[in-house]
Amino acid sequence: MRSRKLNLTNWFLKTALVVLLLIPFTPSSAHIVAQEPWHPVAQAYLRAIFYANLKPINWDLIAEEYEKQIAEPGYKSKTVYDLIAVIEKTDKTDHVESIRKAIEDKDPRAFYSSSTRALSHYIRYHLEEADSKIDKPGVALNDVLEAKRLYRALEDFIEQVDQEAYDQMGRSWLSLTSSVGSAGVMEIGVLKPDEPNFRKVSGYITQYLKTNYEFRDFSDQDTLLPLPKYKSSSNGKVEIAPWLPPGSNLNDQRPLPRLVLNFEARGLDEKDLFLVAYGDMLFDSPEIFGEPARSFGIACSTCHNRSDINQSFMIPGVSERAGSADVDSHLFNSRFNDHKNDSLDIPSLRGLRFTAPYGRDGRFASLREFTRNVMVNEFGGREPTPFMLDAIVTYMLEFDWLPSMYLEPDGILNDKASASAKRGEKIFNTEYKSMGGRACSTCHIPSSNFLDGLRHDITSGNSSGPGARDTFFDTPTLINVKHTGPYLHNGSLETLGDVVQWFNVRFELGLKERQKADLTSYLETVGTGEEPYEVFDNDNTQFLLDWSELSTFLTTLDTLIPAEDEYHTKLLIQTVSSDLRLDASGLQDRSQAPKVYALADKLDEILVAVEAQDWEKSQTLWTEYKTMEVEYGSEFK
């Protein structure tokens, strides 16, 4: 199991096109470099447009983007509406009212039109501000950069449909920042502005924006995406690569969970376990999913970091909160869209062989069926081969829990547990009338891995209607639970203390403060795993961890190439070659990157040979790769 490292901007633009420019102010003075943030208006716009393209449209979310107070210092106590309102003072426009009305009317096209016009106008507003200061060296730069920071919301879409215009606009922004001059320091190094050039270039950008983004009639546009009008209306249907809105985060969580595999306790090496190694690769492969997940680089491991969870995973509009996702929404597979906003907390897969049935509501008794459903239905992948299902299930069945220092094999606390935890254990085993004569331990059976294998309605969910029974959820284990917050099926409770309080209120348990503290202590003790997180140091860097995993995956070529198994060989190489290039960014010594790229190139050569079904050449190249791997591998850090 391994995980991809894609930062937000990165995958947002991975497919959609790559461009993350723009910074406000004068960051040439920045110390070590850092990614620029999204402009609040550009961010709200893109998120709202993203929501408007989902089905059903969550208008509350759209309204919130424009109405909520901006969190960034400097914009505090302001909303996006407040910022947009500035331009109305000078131009007697009605952007705020138009956007508000479109949201109230729940009219996607009117919303797209009004919000897009407002954004374009806001960009021009900053250009006009810059123009008013252009005679003073360097003073206009901030407004130019602010304008460009707003333009960032549009540029990726422009690039996809009109590369020429994208290049021209990109060079125009460069020309603008170069035309404003420099104030120097104490009159030293003053660079005079080039006012004619500034006005010429600013005029070009202004005209482009007016022509393409400030129209009211868009009846000829069949998508609600900020595409330049003349292109979207003249080229017929325009294909746009999958994209995700600002605020999305597919990076692994930090700290990274520690992976515990059952066979390792027996001293075995994954390289000697063909099915496990191939399954491990599949668990980390976006290739087994369809679009858009594949383009986003989403694999099983994206949500289940190292068999556990990913508390950072976030896609606005799809995740109700970080660490959750609505996997049967419109985004991943429209054919599987249940048209419900039912974001679920990502569950840990540790101890998976004991946690059947599968799914939050336990809808699948079989892990194999559950896994196929994830691949084919939730994420729109091709039908997996029996071998793929065998491999990935075999791998996942190796997931063990983190060992506990406080639990006996029968789930009873040992002597290392605190007195408070032991008092909490008694409460945990106490039967309450208000719970139908049941105890916590009735469902979370300590001697059965704190599971009962059943579904219960504890009234934490929202029913679709009378008799719907869709508020029943699978009993989760409490082993390692300390590390898997937030809690409940939807992640609505942040801490185990919150969980105790929720049950105390919901079931009128009448627990006093100390009892609640004791019960919380018990849950934390039961839920504590040894060394829960991967420890990185000079001998175990992120790159070395990735490198080791990829090398393990590749050992399956020793079996696949002689078997002349084209389909599974290609899937493996496509996954590893792509990951290897991405992982190079994690090298501590970046000068080693070309060697990593060379290894990836060699894998691509093998791929070509496999596609030509030249198995002899494939074997030769694979042998060459192994030689390079030995030679280079020892130098990587």
Partner: protein
């Protein structure tokens, strides 16, 4: 006589009044000096709004450590920071090497701390190009377009020019526009390196760390063909005449950020790996360059 007496009275009263006023004023100033806040100027970086939030945290730390009131604000740019040091609006400023050597020469500012990144108080400028562009050496850049960060940037302009000078492509003082087809000041490292990654320019002359601003997908497409001599890293300097005790107390408080229990605070002050003590001699090389490029006589 009467008039004289009245005049004398008035004069005496004025003298007493003025003397009394002066005495009171002096006393007030002394007291105010003790309570005067230490004022820090922060130069803007990629996210000035975030920086405003960050400096609140670092100021709280410094106040607690130093036991004196501390204030801070984000300046419009380097020029404003230097001006603030000159007119006493700021006591201490975070800044880059080039503005510092100008401030040192003209207003007597003194560096006291250098930032440390990746274990070093120096970094380098690099010339980045697209890997498949066929540009393999600096000389190949002739007639190509290039993006720099800012005309007042060491790693984002001056040191990249030095790379060209050493390669014989330029002479100091030459207008780079005579060598390149287009010369852009993109406004920052990120804008410059992204302009390259997006194919808008043939090269970018920026900090060695600028490739951290590329996505993992972009990284394989970019390489660098030359790098500059080490550049002393960004720094903290104090205005001329600032009370030595205050300087020392501030320096000690900042150096305590290197301790494991305080390291997490470094992310609120430009995110270096740490600070080390520094003196002007550490920035002599920048001063030499500044003279060579006409910033100083």
């Amino acid at each position: 006589m009467r008039h004289f007496t009245i005049l004398w009275f008035i004069i005496t009263a004025l003298i007493i009044s003025v003397a009394g006023y002066d005495k009171e004023a002096f006393s007030l100033n002394e007291e105010a000096k003790k309570d005067d806040p230490l004022v820090l100027a922060f130069i803007p970086q990629e996210n000035p709004e975030k920086l405003i939030g960050d400096i609140e945290i670092i100021i709280e730390y410094l106040q607690k450590e130093m036991g004196v009131p501390v204030k801070g604000y984000v300046t419009q740019d380097h020029a404003a920071a230097v001006e603030a040091l000159r007119n006493g609006e700021a006591d201490i400023s975070f800044m880059g090497g080039l503005p510092y050597v100008l401030a040192h020469e003209i207003i007597g500012a003194e560096v006291i701390l250098s930032e440390v990144y990746r274990g070093s108080p120096t970094y380098r400028a690099r010339i980045f190009v697209l890997r498949d562009s066929g540009i393999e050496k600096v000389e190949d850049l002739k007639g190509k377009s290039i993006a720099f960060a800012d005309p007042l940037s060491e790693s984002g302009f001056i040191y990249p020019l030095e790379i060209m000078v050493e390669a014989g492509l330029l002479k100091r003082g030459d207008d780079p526009k005579e060598v390149f087809s287009n010369v852009y000041f993109a406004g920052g490292y990120q804008q410059a390196i992204q302009a390259l990654a997006n194919g808008l320019v043939d090269a970018a002359g920026v900090s060695q760390f600028a490739d951290l601003l590329l996505t993992p997908e972009q990284l394989p497409k970019i390489t660098w063909i030359a790098e500059s001599k080490p550049i002393p890293s960004h720094l903290v300097c104090v205005r001329k005449g600032l009370d030595k005790e205050r300087v020392d107390a501030f320096k000690q408080a900042m150096l305590k950020l290197n301790q494991p229990e305080n390291k997490h605070l470094l992310k609120y002050v430009y995110s270096p790996d740490g600070y080390i003590e520094a003196s002007h001699s550490d920035y002599k090389s920048v001063e030499v360059i500044a003279r060579q490029y006409g910033f100083l006589n």
